[in-house]
C-alpha cells in the first residue's frame, strides 16, 4: 500500500495574510432611501483594523483549500468511539434548508409557525416512544447542556421534597461532561469504581447509597461499550435510597428498538441527536441534547413547552415549578428537523436495523482485532469496542502512535485515551454506516500497524507521514498561546 493519501499539500495562508486593500466579496443591497444624520462620533469606530479584504473568488478558494485539509466522514471510516460518526443523510440537509423552516423567526406568533411547532411536537412524541420516557424537552443545545438540564430538574425535584441532597454519583468510566454538569448544578461529585467487568460495582453502590445522594448518572451501554446488565438492580438500589437515576444516552444508538431506558427504571435521560439520530457533527457542533423524563418530573421541564391549544400548537410557560430556560429560544431547531426526518425515513424497523448493524459491525472489528490488540475487558460489546496498547508496549509503541499511523492508511483514528479506566485506550465505534469492505480495510490497516510496531517501531512513532502537517507541539502551544493572528509579528501577544 502506498503511503501517499494525496499529493503533498501546501500550507494555506490565513485570510489576513491574503488580504489586499480595496478588495471586496459582497455588495450591500441597493438602498434608495435617504442617508440619516451621522451618529455622534464617540459611538463610531474607525475601520475594523486587520479585518480581511478579499474577492468572492478568493474566499471560495481559501475555504475549499482549507476543507481539503480535513478528513471527512463522507470520505471514509471515522471510528471515533462515543461520538457515533454515522452517515448524515443528504435529504436532511435539504429539508432543514426549506425556506419555511430556515427563515422562520423564533418570535413569530405561533399561528405563523405551526409547521415548526408540529415538527417539535412530533419529535418529542417519537423520542418518548423510542426511549420509554413520558415527556421530552428539545431545548438543550448539546448533550452536555442536556446533562445540566436533567440534573437541574433532579435538584428541583429533591428541593420540592424539602432537601436538594448533596451528592451525585458517577462511575469512573463516565464522560467528563457528567461531573462538570453535576458541579454546575451545585452538587458534589463522588466517583464509584467499576468492577472487573468494567461495570458499576453493585455492592459498592449499595454500600454508598445514603440519603445524601441525589442521583446516579449512568451511561448505558457504558463507555466500554458494555451493557450494564444489572441496571434493574442499580435503579432499585438508588430508588431505595430515595435517589434518582440519570441516563447519559450518548450510546442510545446501540439498542434503539431493542429495549428502552424508560422500561429499565431510568427517571431522566438525554439523547444526542447528532449521535443516534444522524445530525451532522459539523466539525464540532451544533449538536442537540433533548432530555426525557418520567411523569413525576415533567413539571420541572424547561419552559416554554409546546402544547396543543384550541387553534393548533402554541408555547406555554405556565409551569410554575419549571427549572426555567436553558436556551435563548427553543433549542437547535435545525437539528430537530433533521432528526425527525431521520426517524421518519427509518421507521421502527429501520431504526432497529440501525442498532443491529452498528452492534454487528463493532463485534466484527472486535473479533478480527482481538489477540493482536489487547482487550482490557472481556465483557460482550455492543456498539463499540475498547482495546489498549498493552501488546505494543514492548516495542515502545503507544496508542497515540497507532492513531497517528492510521491516518497514513487513510482512516480517522478512534477515540484515544478514553475511557480513563483503560490505560492507553483505543475506543472504536464503526457505526452501522460501514460495509464489509471498509471494515476489512480498517482491520487490515490496524493489523499492519501492529506488525510495523514490531518491525519498524520508529516509523510508527514518527507517523503520520502523509498529512499536511506532522505531529504538532501541543505543549509549546499551551505554554505560549498564540490564539489569534496579529499584524506585527507571529510572536504571542501575552
Amino acid at each position: 500500500m502506498s503511503l501517499e493519501r494525496s499529493p503533498a499539500k501546501r500550507r494555506e495562508g490565513l485570510l489576513f495574510e491574503k488580504s489586499v486593500t480595496g478588495k471586496r466579496g459582497s455588495d450591500a443591497p441597493l438602498w434608495d432611501g435617504p442617508e440619516p444624520e451621522a451618529l455622534d462620533s464617540h459611538y463610531l469606530r474607525e475601520e475594523i483594523a486587520g479585518f480581511p479584504e478579499l474577492s468572492e473568488r478568493e474566499v471560495v478558494r481559501h475555504f475549499t483549500r482549507l476543507s481539503k485539509l480535513n478528513y471527512a466522514n463522507d470520505e471514509g471510516l471515522y471510528p471515533l468511539g462515543s461520538c457515533t460518526m454515522k452517515y448524515n443523510p443528504k435529504v436532511n440537509e435539504k429539508i432543514a434548508r426549506l425556506e419555511g423552516f430556515a427563515e422562520a423567526h423564533p418570535l413569530l406568533p405561533p399561528e405563523s409557525a405551526q409547521g415548526c411547532l408540529q415538527v417539535m411536537a412530533d419529535l418529542e412524541r417519537y423520542l418518548c416512544e423510542i426511549t420509554g420516557m413520558s415527556a421530552f424537552t428539545l431545548q438543550p443545545a448539546a448533550g452536555a447542556q442536556g446533562e445540566f438540564t436533567g440534573i437541574r430538574m433532579v435538584r428541583s425535584y429533591h428541593q420540592s421534597r424539602g432537601n436538594p441532597r448533596q451528592v451525585v454519583l458517577i462511575p469512573d468510566s463516565a464522560h467528563g461532561t457528567n461531573p462538570a454538569s453535576a458541579h454546575l448544578c451545585g452538587y458534589r461529585v463522588e466517583e464509584i469504581a467499576s468492577d472487573d467487568r468494567g461495570c458499576v460495582d453493585l455492592k459498592g453502590l449499595k454500600e454508598r447509597m445514603r440519603d445524601d445522594v441525589a442521583v446516579l448518572m449512568l451511561t448505558n451501554p457504558n463507555t466500554l461499550g458494555v451493557f450494564e446488565r444489572e441496571i434493574g438492580e442499580i435503579c432499585a438500589v438508588v430508588h431505595g435510597g430515595g435517589g434518582l437515576v440519570y441516563l447519559d444516552g450518548a450510546n442510545l444508538n446501540a439498542f434503539v428498538g431493542v429495549a428502552r431506558p424508560g422500561d429499565m427504571g431510568v427517571d431522566v435521560m438525554h439523547s444526542n441527536l447528532h449521535k443516534t439520530f444522524s445530525t451532522p457533527h459539523g466539525g464540532g457542533g451544533p449538536g442537540s441534547g433533548p432530555v426525557g423524563v418520567k411523569d413525576f418530573l415533567a413539571r420541572f421541564l424547561p419552559v416554554p413547552r409546546v402544547v396543543r391549544g384550541e387553534s393548533g400548537w402554541r408555547w406555554s410557560a405556565d409551569f410554575p415549578e419549571s427549572i426555567g430556560k436553558v436556551h435563548s429560544f427553543y433549542g437547535n431547531f435545525g437539528m430537530h428537523v433533521r432528526a425527525a426526518a431521520y426517524i421518519l425515513a427509518n421507521g421502527a424497523a429501520g431504526l432497529r436495523e440501525m442498532a443491529e448493524a452498528a452492534v454487528l459491525n463493532a463485534n466484527y472489528l472486535r473479533k478480527r482485532l482481538e489477540g493482536v490488540y489487547h482487550l482490557p475487558y472481556a465483557s460482550p460489546s455492543l456498539h463499540e469496542v475498547i482495546f489498549s496498547d498493552k501488546h505494543l508496549e514492548k516495542h515502545g509503541v503507544r496508542t497515540l502512535d497507532v492513531a497517528k499511523r492510521l491516518m497514513d492508511y487513510g482512516f480517522h483514528p478512534p477515540t484515544i485515551y478514553f475511557p480513563l479506566i483503560v490505560k492507553g485506550a483505543l475506543m472504536i465505534e464503526p457505526t452501522e454506516s460501514e460495509g464489509i469492505e471498509d471494515l476489512d480495510a480498517f482491520v487490515d490497516a490496524m493489523l499492519r500497524i501492529a506488525k510495523e510496531a514490531e518491525e519498524d517501531p520508529e516509523m510508527v512513532r514518527s507517523a503520520p507521514h502523509t498529512t499536511p502537517v506532522g505531529r504538532l507541539d501541543e505543549a509549546a502551544a499551551a505554554r505560549r498561546p498564540v490564539l489569534r493572528w496579529s499584524p506585527a509579528s507571529e510572536e504571542p501577544r501575552s
Binding site: W31, G285, F333
Partner: protein, 448 residues
C-alpha cells in the same frame, strides 16, 4: 434501510464469523425482562420523495416570507447571506467531520477556528476569543460564571435592558451556585444611567452586565460603565446580540470592556426558528485561562511547519472533570464556520456598509412611523436597527391585524414588560426594502 451499506446477506456473513445464529444474540447482555416485545410505535418508513413531500408540507405551514414583510428581531435577525456561505459549509469535509481531536487530519477546521477567533477579536477589540458557545444566552451565563470565578464574588449587576430571554437562562444556570442578580432598570431615555449604576456597585459585585445596543434598541454609554465597574473591582461584560452593529459601533474592548460576548447569528446563520445559533465570547488576555469552551492556538510540527491545535485544554471537562471552567464539550462548529465565511466575504468595507445601511433603513422607518397620528418614539436617542414604537392603543391587537396583511410588525413588548402594553419593538434590516417600510407605515396608519 437505505442508509445502511451492508446487505442482509453480508450481515449473515458477519454473524457467521462471530459464530452467532441470529442477530438477536448480539443483545444477549440486555436482560430479557427489558427487551421490547413489540415494534416501536412510529410512523411507517418514508421513501426520500415522500419524506420531502411531507416535510415540505409542514414547512409551508409557517409564514411565507415571499408574501410578507418581517420587522421582527429581538435577538434573532434576518440578514442577507451570500450564496458562498451555504455552498462552502455544505462541503462534506466541513460538515461531516468532528471536533478536531486529531490536528493532522483537521487543519481545515482548526485554521478556520483560528480565523474566527481573530475576527471576533478584531470586531470586539479584545485579545482572545473562543471557538464559540451555544448561543447568546448561554454565552452570557458563561460570562457571569467567568466573572464569579475570577473575582470570587457573588453579585452580578445587570445595567439597563438586557435580553429578557438571556436573563431567564442566566437565572436557571447561576442560582444554584449562590450567585445573585441585581437589575437596574433603564431611565426614561431607554438607556441605563451610569451614575445610578455606579451607586449600586459594592465589594460583592463580580460583574456589571450591559447590552449594546440594548434590548430596546438604544445605544448605551459604555465608557463610564467600564470605569464604574473597574472602580468597584468588577468585570465589565458587554453583551452584543446584533453582531452586525459591530461593523460601525466602537469596539467595546477599545472602551475598556473586559469581556464581550453574545450572539453572532446575524453573521451568516439563518433564523431557523431559534437555533442553531452562535454564541461568542472574547476576553482580555488576563482572563484567557478562565474562558470556557474550545480554544485553538498556533503550533509548530516536528519539521517547523505552522499548524493549529486545540489548546489550553486543562480548562476543560474532559481533563478537569468537575473542576472544569464549564461543562461545554463541543462548540457550534458549522455555525462558526458560516460566520467566518460571512465575515471574510463581506470584509472590512462590507461589514461597515452593512451596519450603516441597517441604521439608515431603521432611521427611515422611525421617521415614517413617528408621523402617524398617535404614534411616538418613547426613546428617541441614538440607536442601531431597532427601536420602540409606542401606539395609541394596545399593540398586540394591531400586531395581529397587520399579520393578516402579511406584515410582522415587530414584537409586542407586553410579553416581556407588562407595563409596555402599547409598545412594539420594531427591527429594520437590509432585508426590508423602502417599499416594505412604506407599506408598514401606511397599513399601520390605516389600522389605527
Amino acid at each position: 434501510m437505505r442508509y445502511i451499506p451492508s446487505s442482509p446477506t453480508e450481515r449473515q456473513k458477519l454473524l457467521k464469523v462471530l459464530g452467532l445464529e441470529s442477530i438477536d444474540r448480539l443483545f444477549d447482555t440486555i436482560p430479557e425482562s427489558f427487551r421490547l416485545k413489540r415494534a416501536l410505535d412510529l410512523p411507517p418508513a418514508l421513501p426520500e420523495a415522500d419524506l420531502i413531500e411531507q416535510m415540505g408540507t409542514l414547512s409551508r405551514k409557517n409564514l411565507d416570507l415571499h408574501d410578507s414583510a418581517l420587522f421582527l428581531g429581538a435577538g434573532a435577525y434576518r440578514h442577507f447571506i451570500p450564496a458562498v456561505v451555504d455552498h462552502l459549509i455544505s462541503r462534506a469535509e466541513f460538515y461531516s467531520s468532528y471536533t478536531p481531536y486529531q490536528p493532522e487530519f483537521s487543519q481545515g477546521t482548526l485554521q478556520s477556528i483560528f480565523e474566527f477567533q481573530t475576527l471576533i477579536c478584531q470586531l470586539t477589540g479584545l485579545d482572545a476569543a473562543n471557538a464559540s458557545l451555544y448561543d447568546g444566552a448561554s454565552a452570557l451565563a458563561e460570562g457571569i460564571l467567568l466573572a464569579h470565578r475570577a473575582k470570587r464574588r457573588n453579585q452580578i449587576v445587570v445595567a439597563g435592558p438586557v435580553h429578557p430571554e438571556y436573563l431567564k437562562v442566566v437565572r436557571t444556570l447561576v442560582t444554584t451556585l449562590g450567585i445573585e442578580l441585581k437589575s437596574i432598570p433603564a431611565g426614561e431615555s431607554g438607556a441605563c444611567e451610569p451614575d445610578r449604576v455606579a451607586t449600586q456597585l459594592s465589594p460583592q459585585t463580580a460583574a456589571v452586565v450591559v447590552q449594546q445596543p440594548n434590548f430596546l434598541g438604544r445605544l448605551e454609554e459604555i465608557a463610564p460603565l467600564v470605569e464604574a465597574s473597574h472602580r468597584a473591582g468588577a468585570v465589565c461584560i458587554v453583551v452584543v446580540n446584533e453582531a452586525v452593529s459591530l461593523g460601525m459601533l466602537k469596539a467595546p474592548g477599545s472602551l475598556g470592556a473586559d469581556v464581550v460576548l453574545g450572539e453572532a447569528q446575524s453573521l451568516g446563520v439563518p433564523l431557523s426558528y431559534g437555533g442553531p445559533y452562535l454564541g461568542f465570547m472574547a476576553v482580555k488576555m488576563e482572563y484567557v485561562r478562565e474562558i470556557p469552551g474550545r480554544l485553538v492556538g498556533q503550533a509548530k510540527d516536528v519539521q517547523g511547519r505552522t499548524g493549529y491545535v486545540l489548546t489550553l485544554a486543562t480548562r476543560e471537562q474532559h481533563i478537569r472533570r468537575e473542576k472544569a471552567t464549564s461543562n461545554i464539550c463541543t462548540n457550534q462548529g458549522l455555525c462558526m464556520l458560516a460566520a467566518t465565511i460571512f465575515m471574510a466575504t463581506l470584509g472590512k468595507q462590507g461589514m461597515r456598509e452593512l451596519a450603516l445601511q441597517n441604521r439608515a433603513r431603521a432611521e427611515y422607518a422611525k421617521a415614517a412611523l413617528k408621523k402617524i397620528p398617535g404614534c411616538r418614539l418613547p426613546h428617541p436617542g441614538p440607536g442601531f436597527n431597532e427601536f420602540v414604537l409606542e401606539l395609541p392603543r394596545p399593540a398586540s391587537a394591531i400586531h395581529r391585524q397587520l399579520l393578516g396583511k402579511g406584515i410582522v410588525a415587530g414584537l409586542p413588548l407586553e410579553q416581556y414588560f407588562p407595563d409596555r402594553k402599547n409598545d412594539l419593538l420594531i427591527t429594520v434590516t437590509e432585508m426590508n426594502s423602502r417599499a416594505q417600510i412604506d407599506r408598514l407605515a401606511s397599513e399601520l396608519r390605516e389600522a389605527l
